[in-house]
Each structure stands twice: as structure tokens, then as C-alpha cells.
């Protein structure tokens, strides 16, 4: 009833003092400024990324795309993560050991893939590349080593270009953990032209909602007119707010399905654009699978769900018209048609409460706990039949699962 009281008192004194015509707008402006400054301060304190990154250790190799410089070390702190060391060995792979000829009785997995495979945002010891061979060795009783050729922007086309290097590493198995982003950018080989991405943004404007258009217009204004330092501040505040908001599972899924440009893969009926992406992916996957088959090396593909997909699987329900298992089914069909092996780890996320907490909320990469979970799921699939040579049933010295 405060409102009514205020209004009643207002009736008695209907005229606003003259000073208030200036004072009230000033109070409003000052309050907004104060709030914005405080938010900026918090975001600077908590979410400032480092100026160096793994890309400082990389260069473009003609005909092969961007790869790491051998024997280089870089550090990076992403806006959401901890300071991480990226150490590349004599072959330019992120590993704590040097490349050398394969020893007898060693089972060598060569892993290809993009940032997730490389272990972006996590310490090397916490990454899939370090965890998986350790778990497999323990489970099978065999010495399993993993050569990690995973690289930032290691997209399907790039790996097709450097597939000779993959086979030259003498793999007993080629493991390709891939995700929706890799498939969406299957044809990209760095360095790319940024203008092609801007054109895509402009094309999307016509299909945006009312608030989406406002957001796009503000984004356009910010990108093109506002000074870069201010743009960076705004981006950082935006990231901080999204980081906290996206900790909510439902809020994140709703927002992702409505706004993310790569959410099309979750639709039961993928649009023409996604069908093209899948066709592009199939082109490179088929070529690599054929070469692997010719070299008698098993080619194993695993779909690593992105954050929204993992959350939807865990929730067990999703909006009509979507299916988080859809891309996995598509991928299985593509991979197995050309002689490869597909490992399905998506059902493993059903029993995980809030799996989105194992990913960085805005960046979207799995964190150390996410890598451990994914390593566990891949390990389980490999030792239970996906890779006959690693199957526990075929290993006389294998450690039974119950002893783990």
C-alpha cells in the first residue's frame, strides 16, 4: 500500500519542485553510472583473461593449417579458467613426453581433434589425453600410450590435410573425439577470412526476434563505433553476467536453444545448413576412414556432447522439436558406413546430475572434471568391446572393473 500512500500524498502536492526537474535525471544517471562502474570493477577483478594464449605457440604451416611450434611453451588464463600451461613436445604435440619410435608391446592411440582433444583450458595432467591411457593401462594391463595430435582449430578439413602425419605416428588406433562445433566448421582451415563470419551474422538478422534485433543492433554499434577498449569492457561484463546466469541448467538450455547459432544440430529435423555441415563432415571423415582402413588402423569416432546437449540428456526432457541424441545417431550412421567405429557416450550423461557444471559456462569447453568424466566413459566403451584389442575380456592381466 506504499504506492497508494505515495500517490495520496502526491495529490496534495501535485507540483514538482523546480530543482527536481534537474535533480531526478541526475540521480538516475549517477545511479546507472555507479552500477555500471561497480559491475565493471568486479568483472575486471574476476574475469580478466591473460594477454597470452596457446595461439602464441602456433603458426600456420602451408597446406596443413595452424599447428604448434615444436618445443614451445605458452601460458593462458581464460576469462573463466585458471592459468594453464601449454607445453608442446618435439613433435608439436601437447604432452609431457617426447615423441619416439613405438616400443614393442605398446598400444599406441593417436588422438586427433580440436581444442577439446588438445585439452584447452585444463592442465595437461587433467586432460583426456593424459587420463585415458592411464585408465586403459590400468584396466587392460597393457601399456597404452596416447599421442595427442589434437590442436586448436584442428577441424576435419585440417586433419585430412595432415593425415600423413597421423599415420606416420604408427597408431594402433586413431581416436577422434569430436563435437558439434567441429562439424559445423568442418571445411574451415586456418587462417580464415573473418569477413565470411560477419556476412553470416548479417544474414541471420532477418530471422531474429524483436529483442534479438535490438541485441544485434547494439552489438553492431559496439563493434563498429565504440572504441575497442570500451568494447572489451562491455564484452567482459557480458561474459561475467552470462557466466553466472548460465550456471542455471534450465536458463542455459532455454537461452542456448533460442539464441545459439550452432543449436541447429539439436533439432529433430536439421535445417539445410546443418545438413550441409554433416555432408562436409562426412566427406573428410570418409576420406580419413578409407586411409586408416588401408593402413589397417581402427578409426574410432566419439561425439563429445556440448554443454547444452549434456544438460538436456541429464534432464531427460527437452522442448518439442529437439533431440539431444539426434547428432549422435547421424554421426554413427556416417562413421559406420565408411568402416569406422562409433562410440556412443551420450547415454552416460543420463545419470549425471547437472553435467553442465563440468563445463565452463560461457566458453563451453569441459573443465578438468568434465575431462575425467569423458575419459571414464570412453575408457568404459573401449574396454567393453568398441576396440577388440583393448577389450578386458581379451586381456589375461586385466584388472576387473569391480577392483577399480
Amino acid at each position: 500500500m506504499t504506492q497508494l500512500n505515495a500517490e495520496n500524498s502526491d495529490m496534495k502536492e501535485s507540483k514538482l519542485p523546480r530543482r527536481d526537474w534537474i535533480l531526478l535525471p541526475l540521480i538516475s544517471i549517477f545511479t546507472i553510472f555507479l552500477l555500471a562502474a561497480a559491475t565493471d570493477l568486479v568483472s575486471r577483478t574476476t574475469f580478466t583473461p591473460s594477454k597470452t594464449g596457446p595461439s602464441d605457440c602456433m603458426r600456420s604451416y602451408p597446406g596443413k593449417g595452424v599447428q604448434a611450434i615444436p618445443n614451445s611453451v605458452c601460458w593462458n588464463k581464460g576469462s573463466e579458467g585458471e592459468l594453464t600451461e601449454y607445453r608442446f613436445n618435439n613433435c608439436g604435440q601437447r604432452a609431457d613426453f617426447e615423441c619416439k619410435p613405438k616400443a614393442a608391446n605398446t598400444y599406441r592411440i593417436v588422438m586427433i581433434g580440436s581444442s577439446f582433444a588438445m585439452g584447452d583450458r585444463v592442465a595437461n595432467s587433467d586432460s583426456l589425453a593424459a587420463l585415458l591411457p592411464a585408465e586403459l593401462s590400468q584396466q587392460t594391463g597393457r601399456k597404452v600410450e596416447l599421442y595427442n595430435q589434437g590442436m586448436l582449430w584442428g577441424l576435419p578439413h585440417s586433419f585430412w590435410l595432415r593425415f600423413d602425419d597421423v599415420l606416420a605416428a604408427q597408431p594402433d588406433m586413431i581416436l577422434w573425439p569430436t563435437g558439434p562445433w567441429d562439424i559445423q566448421n568442418a571445411t574451415v582451415v586456418l587462417p580464415y577470412s573473418k569477413s565470411s563470419f560477419d556476412k553470416k551474422d548479417a544474414h541471420q538478422l532477418s530471422s531474429m526476434s524483436f529483442t534479438g534485433r535490438i541485441r544485434f543492433s547494439i552489438g553492431y554499434f559496439v563493434r563498429n563505433i565504440v572504441p575497442p577498449s570500451v568494447t572489451a569492457d562491455i564484452a567482459q561484463i557480458r561474459l561475467m553476467l552470462q557466466h553466472y546466469l548460465y550456471e542455471s541448467q534450465s536458463l542455459y538450455i532455454d537461452s542456448y536453444l533460442l539464441n545459439a547459432s550452432d543449436a541447429g544440430f539439436l533439432a529433430i529435423e536439421p535445417d539445410a545448413e546443418w545438413k550441409t555441415h554433416l555432408a562436409d563432415f562426412e566427406t573428410y571423415s570418409a576420406r580419413m576412414e578409407e586411409r586408416a582402413a588401408a593402413a589397417h588402423v581402427p578409426f574410432v569416432v566419439v561425439l563429445v556432447p556440448n554443454r547444452a546437449q549434456a544438460a538436456m540428456i541429464s534432464m531427460g526432457e527437452w522442448p518439442a522439436g529437439y533431440d539431444p541424441y539426434q547428432l549422435g545417431n547421424e554421426l554413427r550412421a556416417i562413421v559406420t558406413t565408411h568402416g569406422g567405429v562409433y562410440i556412443d557416450i551420450l547415454p552416460g550423461f543420463r545419470d549425471l546430475p547437472n553435467p553442465e557444471q563440468y563445463y565452463f559456462p560461457v566458453d563451453g569447453h569441459p573443465d578438468a572434471r568434465g575431462h575425467a568424466i569423458i575419459a571414464g566413459l570412453i575408457d568404459k566403451a573401449l574396454i567393453t568391446g568398441a576396440a577388440p584389442e583393448l577389450s578386458v575380456a581379451n586381456q589375461p592381466q586385466a584388472v576387473p572393473a569391480r577392483d577399480k
Binding site: M1, T2, Q3, L4, N5, A6, E7, S9, D10, M11, E13, S14, K15, L16, D20, L23, L24, I27, S28, I29, T31, I32, L35, A36, S209, F210, T211, G212, I214, R215, I218, R238, L241, Q242, L245, S248, Q249, S250, L251, D254, S255, L258, N259, S314, M315, G316, D351, L352, P353, N354
Partner: protein, 478 residues
């Protein structure tokens, strides 16, 4: 448009601006009627879907005309006809499915139209002073876009007093400022507060379906109990803030629908503060006539106090049932009815045991009020399960914990609500005691401008950041 969206607020402000171009009631009424038609047109996809609503309105007006022409003895039949058509159009699940219309049609706002039409018919049938209501006035009252979707349920005489006034109520800069501040506050409640509360609530529900440690399940259950009342409050009262402010800018005063409900010291008091216009309507047209009828037919003095208890139960059972068409709402109604009737019985019992004076003293005791407030909140929170969950979800969340754990959660909620709400009341009282010559500092216009700026900035930033559709106003579904 049928939500507390930017578009709706901009539409309302534009209409308020046009409405104020001329102070004559003819101009303002013309603008309101055209705006209401435009509003309905914007939320429908085809004019054909409006036919059932139009027929319902025509039926209501025909009944009204009949009563105006002296057929008062037919008022009961008119009310029955209106109710039956309403139940049929709303497709209540206890009716056979085959009798419903199977092509899609528009039912948004039908519940609130029902209350307005019934109000006109009852008043017309019972009043000795016959007042003619023209068809245009009838449409203005029933289709008023500010009250169409979710109320508040305004009486016709109050609407006519402001809408058809030769000298409309004043609209100075202070009033405009207050209304703009209220619109921003309402927008913040619906689009930020309610949206965040709903997200946490959904997350808690999803977590309960996983085999988590008991402590985490208890925490999720605690969230599931305490959040829905705050969510519904933020969502519904936020929308009401917006429409009351928009109507005031059009020089019409709508009745308040909320009065700090979580400060209520009893369940009876709660319903004087929550969805006030609905409970007032039902008390006026159900509780009072029913009590009078029963009192006339009962001579036993010992029974008379219990008649009030029974009438409260019936009235609030109807409040619950009105909210939905499924069996969950029957339980919701029973729990609401039980809440108020047990509350009334408790009052009667205390008066008999300790005497009226002692009871009055007890009712003013701080600790007694604090525990009663906590109990009121926790009972309302419990009833809310049948408001927003279906039987399948109810079974899932019950199975996740079991009876004993749920009782512990409920007891914990009572205790926490007692402490937190009492602390809040103390804090609020002490903050409002800081005054200047113009009143409390916290409600001063300078402070209001500061709040509005903060709420406005947060609302705009979050709306643009998440770029989601505006959350629906939960009461529009009823």
C-alpha cells in the same frame, strides 16, 4: 503482447499518451475501446477464433438486458447459463471430451471476463436501482486491455466512475513519475526476479530426479517448497503493477491486488493480501450470501460459529478450483479451504479456551505473530505443489525423499520462514522509521528514482543478454 513484455509496455504507454490528448470521456473511451480491440487482434492469429468469446460476451449482455427489463427472477438461471457455457468453453476435464468444440479458439482472459459479467448480472439482478449499461460501456468494461489478461477484477461502478467522469482524475508530473517507476518495478519483477526464481525452481525439480546424496535432495526439496510462492508473487504482482500504472496513466484507478502477502499473520489475513480482487469477489458473491442463507436456516446457536468455517471452506475451495481444469486443482482447492477453515476454527477455539481479551493480546504478541506468519507461508507453499505440478511430478518428488524427509523439509521451511520473515519485518520497520519531513527516506522520490534506474538497467541488460521471450504471466492461463 499478452505478457509483461517491452512491446506490451510500449503499447500501453502509447495508448496512454493518445488517451491524454483530450480529457473528454468520449475520446478516452474511444481510445480505450480501439486499443482493446487492437490488443486482442494482436494476440490472435485469426478473427474466427474470437467467435466463442464474442458469443460468450453477447450471452452475458443478453442476460443483462433481460434483468434490466425486470426479469429479476431469472437471474439465477442467467448465472447458471453463463457458468455452464464458461465451463464448456474452458473444457473442464470432468466433462465428456466429445461435447467440446474441436477447432482452436481464443480463451485468453475468459476467466476474468466471467467475473466481470457475473458481477454485472448479480448486481443488476439484486439492485433496486436499475442502471442501464450500454453495449459500448459493457465492451469497454469487459474487454479493457489493462485488465483483460489477468485482472485485477474491477467493479463496474469503480470503472465507470473514472472512465466516464466529466472531470477525469488528475495526472500531474508526480503521478506520472510514480506510475513510470511502478512500470519499471513491475517489469523487473516479471522479467528478472520471476524469471530467475523460475529457473532455480526448474533446476531443483530436475535435480530431484537424480540419485543424489540425501543432503542435496533435502536442499533441492527446500528450494522447491520456498521458491514457487515468491515466483508466483513476482510474476503476477509484477504484471499487476504494470497494468495498474498504465491504467492510471489513462486516468483510471484499478484496485490493488496485492498488499505484502508474506507479512500476513494468518492464512485468513493472507487472503486479504493475495489476489485481493479475486478473494473479495468470492467473499462478496459466495461467502456472504451463503452465510446469510445458512444462518437463516439454522437456529442452533452452537452450530452458528461453524457456519462461517464451512462458508470459508466453500469459498476458498472455489478459489482453488477456479485456477485450473484438472484434478490437481481440486486438491489445491481442498487445501486452501482447509487452510482458512482450520485457521477460523483455531481462532474460535482460542477465544473459547483463553477468552476474547487474552486472545487479542496473544494475537499482538511478536513471537506468536512470527510463528503464525511462518506457518501461513509454509502452508501456502505446500498448497502450491498442487498449483504448479501434475500428479506424475508430484509422485516423482514424493518418491525422491519419502514422507519423513518431506515432513522434515516442511518443518524446516516453517522455522526458516518464521525467522526470515520476522527479521524482514523488523528490518523494514526500522528502515521506514528513517524519515524526513516528506516521509520515509526509502519511499522518497529521490530514492524511488534510484531504485527505478537500477531495476530498469538490470531489466534491459538481462532481457537483451538472454534474449528469451518474456516469461508468460502465470495467471493468464486461468
Amino acid at each position: 503482447m499478452d505478457t509483461a513484455s517491452f512491446q506490451f509496455v510500449l503499447f500501453g504507454l502509447a495508448i496512454a499518451l493518445v488517451s491524454n490528448l483530450n480529457r473528454s470521456w468520449v475520446w478516452r473511451s474511444t481510445v480505450l475501446l480501439l486499443a482493446s480491440f487492437t490488443f486482442i487482434g494482436l494476440v490472435t492469429h485469426s478473427p474466427l477464433v474470437l467467435i466463442p468469446l464474442a458469443a460468450f460476451l453477447l450471452l452475458g449482455y443478453a442476460c443483462l438486458l433481460m434483468l434490466e427489463r425486470g426479469w429479476s427472477r431469472h437471474s439465477a438461471w442467467s448465472i447458471l447459463a453463463i457458468l455452464l457455457v464458461y465451463i464448456w468453453l474452458k473444457k473442464y476435464t470432468f466433462l465428456p471430451h466429445g461435447i467440446f468444440l474441436h477447432s482452436p479458439y481464443f480463451t485468453l482472459g475468459l476467466s476474468y471476463v466471467l467475473f466481470r459479467v457475473l458481477h454485472l448480472i448479480i448486481e443488476s439482478g439484486s439492485s433496486d436501482k436499475k442502471q442501464h449499461i450500454g453495449f459500448i460501456d459493457y465492451l469497454l468494461y469487459t474487454l479493457n486491455f489493462t485488465t483483460f489478461v489477468s485482472g485485477p477484477i474491477q467493479r463496474y461502478d469503480e470503472f465507470a466512475r473514472d472512465q466516464f467522469a466529466q472531470q477525469p482524475i488528475r495526472l500531474g508530473p508526480r503521478v506520472v513519475g510514480l506510475q513510470l517507476e511502478r512500470i519499471i518495478r513491475g517489469f523487473f519483477k516479471v522479467n528478472v526476479l520471476a524469471m530467475l526464481l523460475h529457473a532455480v525452481q526448474k533446476d531443483a525439480l530436475a535435480r530431484l530426479s537424480h540419485p543424489l546424496p540425501l543432503s542435496l535432495r533435502l536442499y533441492s526439496a527446500f528450494e522447491l517448497v520456498i521458491l514457487p510462492p515468491f515466483f508466483v508473487y513476482a510474476n503476477f504482482s509484477g504484471y499487476i503493477d504494470i497494468v495498474i500504472a498504465l491504467a492510471r496513466l489513462m486516468r483510471v484507478r484499478l484496485p490493488e491486488n496485492f498488499d505484502r502477502p508474506f507479512s500476513a499473520s494468518s492464512f485468513l489475513d493472507f487472503w486479504n493480501r493475495w489476489h485481493i480482487t479475486l478473494s473479495t469477489w468470492l467473499k462478496t458473491y459466495v461467502y456472504n450470501p451463503l452465510l446469510v442463507l445458512l444462518m437463516r436456516r439454522t437456529s442452533s446457536r452452537t452450530l452458528q460459529p461453524f457456519l462461517g468455517v464451512f462458508c470459508f471452506f466453500v469459498t476458498f475451495f472455489l478459489v482453488g478450483v477456479w485456477h485450473g481444469r484438472t484434478s490437481e486443482f481440486l486438491i489445491f482447492g481442498v487445501l486452501l479451504g482447509a487452510g482458512v477453515s482450520i485457521n477460523k476454527l483455531w481462532q474460535e477455539l482460542l477465544v473459547r479456551v483463553i477468552g476474547r481479551q487474552s486472545y487479542k493480546a496473544l494475537a499482538k504478541n511478536f513471537t506468536y505473530i512470527a510463528f503464525a506468519r511462518g506457518l501461513t507461508f509454509s502452508w501456502f507453499a505446500l498448497t502450491n505443489f498442487w498449483f504448479w505440478l501434475d500428479w506424475k511430478q508430484l509422485d516423482e518428488i514424493y518418491s525422491a525423499l519419502g514422507l519423513v524427509s518431506w515432513l522434515c523439509v516442511w518443518a524446516g521451511v516453517w522455522l526458516c520462514a518464521t525467522i526470515v520473515l520476522a527479521s524482514w519485518e523488523l528490518l523494514r520497520t526500522s528502515l521506514l522509521s528513517i524519515k524526513t519531513s516528506e516521509g520515509p527516506v526509502l519511499t522518497h522520490r529521490y530514492a524511488r528514482v534510484a531504485y527505478a534506474s537500477v531495476f530498469g538497467l538490470i531489466s534491459v541488460v538481462l532481457t537483451l543478454l538472454l534474449s528469451q521471450p518474456t516469461p508468460p504471466v502465470i495467471y493468464k492461463a486461468f
